[in-house]
């Protein structure tokens, strides 16, 4: 099999050698300043997404369980919440939402219909949302530990474990 090796020069690599620019410290400070201005809007988006999840969780459409479209819509909302919660430091909400993602993915793949577990996760997310009365760290940990027990009960895998195995940067 013929194989060619290229060593392309890109404008990005030229930027690494160009005069001027920013140091790592300056770049990160600049980025954090820019992002902080979005925190208020991010809180609103999280609130809206949790409300959407609550609406879906309250009204299964497919013979007593959620339709594939509803499951996909829930996963999309969860993905958004994980991104925002992780970015703005809402660790407990991030952990609860990741648990819900794993649960939804597991239920989708296994064909199991466990509505109650989904609702428990959504309620937990409401408890941990920005603006909710803060829970003591001990209580937060206990709640999150209970959520992971649900996953263990069903024997569902965690996407984060798979990512670690694949060596994906996080």
């Amino acid at each position: 099999m013929k194989q060619l090796l290229h060593f392309p020069r890109t404008r990005l690599s030229e930027g690494a050698r160009a005069f001027g620019g920013v140091t790592r410290e300056e770049a990160i400070k600049g980025a954090l300043d820019q992002m902080e201005s979005m925190r208020g809007d991010a809180d609103l988006v999280i609130e809206k997404s949790i409300a959407t999840l609550e609406q879906i969780a309250a009204a299964p459409q497919d013979g007593g369980f959620f339709s594939p479209g509803q499951l996909s819509a829930m996963l999309a909302r969860c993905d958004q919440i994980v991104t925002l919660a992780g970015t703005f430091g809402y660790r407990a909400l991030d952990a609860a939402t990741c648990c819900l993602c794993d649960l939804l993915e597991g239920l989708r793949q296994s064909g199991l219909k466990d509505i109650a577990s989904i609702r428990v996760h959504v309620r937990t997310m409401r408890l941990l949302a920005p603006g909710a009365p803060p829970l003591a760290a001990g209580h937060q940990n206990r709640v999150l530990a209970e959520l992971t027990k649900i996953l263990a009960h069903h024997g569902f895998a965690r996407a984060s474990d798979m990512a670690d195995k694949a060596g994906i940067a996080s």
Binding site: M1, L5, L12, V22, I28, M35, G86
Partner: protein
């Protein structure tokens, strides 16, 4: 000697993510890094159009856009004429999309980052892509950056290549 600097003021970045708020958030980070131009797409069709028209210097693509997976888009970009085919591509994977990242890497992505991407991580990865001298490999089955970029011998595997013995990169 001062800290190394990265000058992104002339770099054009194409950012594709389905979620408008996430796009805004990552764009703010990139602006904080001093990125010259940031163009945004919310789906594969828009991305193809912008890639062809604007010839970006770096692409950040979500692992699954609403109409297409990143792996398909990357394979398409790698088939375009130079210099586009060598454009650095970073895939951003949401928590629920982690199952798709192996395909993205095998399609020729330079790096995969798990969302939420912190400012530190995003800057470090951009700097790494800018500074690394990874060759592009072109053969019948693959066009993309060499996937064997870790230095050192393979872990727990029988060495098959001469260079594996010394641990030197191939």
């Amino acid at each position: 000697m001062g800290q190394p600097r990265l000058n992104l003021s002339k770099v054009r970045c194409l950012l594709a993510d389905r979620d408008v708020f996430t796009r805004g958030l990552i764009a703010q980070m990139l602006r904080g890094f001093g990125m010259g131009t940031i163009q945004m797409a919310s789906n594969g069709e828009q991305l193809r159009e912008l890639v062809t028209k604007e010839c970006p210097d770096v692409c950040l693509i979500e692992a699954a856009l609403p109409d297409i997976e990143a792996s398909e888009l990357i394979a398409w970009i790698r088939k375009q004429p130079e210099p586009l085919r060598f454009v650095p591509i970073i895939v951003l994977s949401g928590y629920t999309q982690l199952r798709l990242v192996t395909a993205a890497r095998d399609a020729g992505a330079n790096l995969v980052i798990r969302k939420p991407a912190s400012a530190q991580m995003l800057f470090d990865r951009l700097a790494w892509v800018a500074n690394s001298r990874r060759p592009f490999i072109e053969n019948d089955n693959f066009l993309g950056p060499d996937r064997r970029f870790r230095k050192g011998p393979p872990a727990k595997a029988k060495s098959r290549r001469k260079t594996d013995v010394t641990g030197e990169p191939a």
